[in-house]
Symmetry: C2
Subunit: 187 residues, 2 copies
């Protein structure tokens, strides 16, 4: 029995013990080291990952070689290249570890089988996806309309406690500002 | 029987006639005029809207009074302030009509009842939400990493045929460029 997985799902969906027996049989626990990649660019995207421990990021390298960070994620967050995963296309993002991580992986095929076998999981993933959508909407509005200082303040609110665990260069890349601009905001 | 609604849902979910009888009883058809608001800022968000006809936009006014356009939408797209709707908070966006529109409205309470009564609708909305998430992810990467010219080219791909129906000022606002910059790209 995996108490982390059960608690995570039960925040949204009521589970019977029988439901949970089935659910946990679909997840595969995996460990990754700091700097190890879960997904590399231009490859098939087989899985989504629920994080139990560690800090990860998803990022995009543009044609000039510059890294743009789409998302940081820690315990109880899901991470993947969702575009590649849901459309079953090759990845445009990379996902790697900022710290050692333990995750629960679920494949595309298993996600669909699980949702049809255990309907409460269809509900779980609908609600999760809705909240993920909302978070991205906020990020777009932030990128379009806010100053670097306001985006930094949003970051601290959205990722409390991350500020001491993530290298400043990566935070600057997430915010879309230079390392120097971030230093001025940070002091 | 509403063939538009049935066809729209059947692109993702297999429906029996009985399913569809129930489904359509939850939707309310509404008509709006050009420039009319479906959602205004700082108000409760009661509904999501599936568009049958017309062109709509969702937008955000920043504290300087500048409008930032999050989304354009036409037939077969869904629009709302999804953050306000899913979190049942007041809206930060406005949704209004660029052209006269016919939409099918679904309330928050009815969405949840419908998903529990007709499980295939839970599947439908999960898949819709996943694709909506993917579209927003692309928009973030575009805002972070692309030039105005590349964003304009993406816009034409994502909204084919819109270019002649949407005032240039609004396209500039969607792309995050000035009207003058857009003119240079457009010619």
């Amino acid at each position: 029995m995996n108490p982390f997985l059960k608690e995570h799902i039960q925040e949204i969906a009521n589970l019977t013990d029988n439901d949970f027996e089935i659910i946990q049989s679909f997840f595969v626990k995996k460990r990754f080291r700091k700097r190890q990649f879960l997904i590399q660019e231009h490859q098939s995207v087989y899985e989504i990952f629920l994080i139990e421990k560690g800090i990860l990021k998803s990022s995009f390298i543009d044609h000039t070689g510059k890294e743009h960070i789409l998302q940081f994620a820690t315990a109880n967050w899901w991470i993947s290249d969702f575009a590649g995963f849901f459309k079953q296309e090759t990845s445009s993002l990379a996902v790697d570890c900022i710290e050692d991580a333990e995750v629960h992986a679920l494949s595309f095929e298993d996600l669909n089988i699980l949702c049809s076998k255990v309907p409460v999981m269809e509900h779980f993933f609908r609600v999760k996806s809705n909240f993920g959508y909302v978070a991205l909407q906020q990020r777009i509005l932030s990128l379009m309309s806010k100053s670097a200082k306001e985006r930094y303040e949003d970051f601290i609110k959205q990722y409390p406690g991350f500020i001491d665990h993530i290298p400043k260069q990566l935070i600057a890349s997430y915010l879309g500002v230079s390392r120097e601009t971030l230093s001025r905001l940070y002091l």
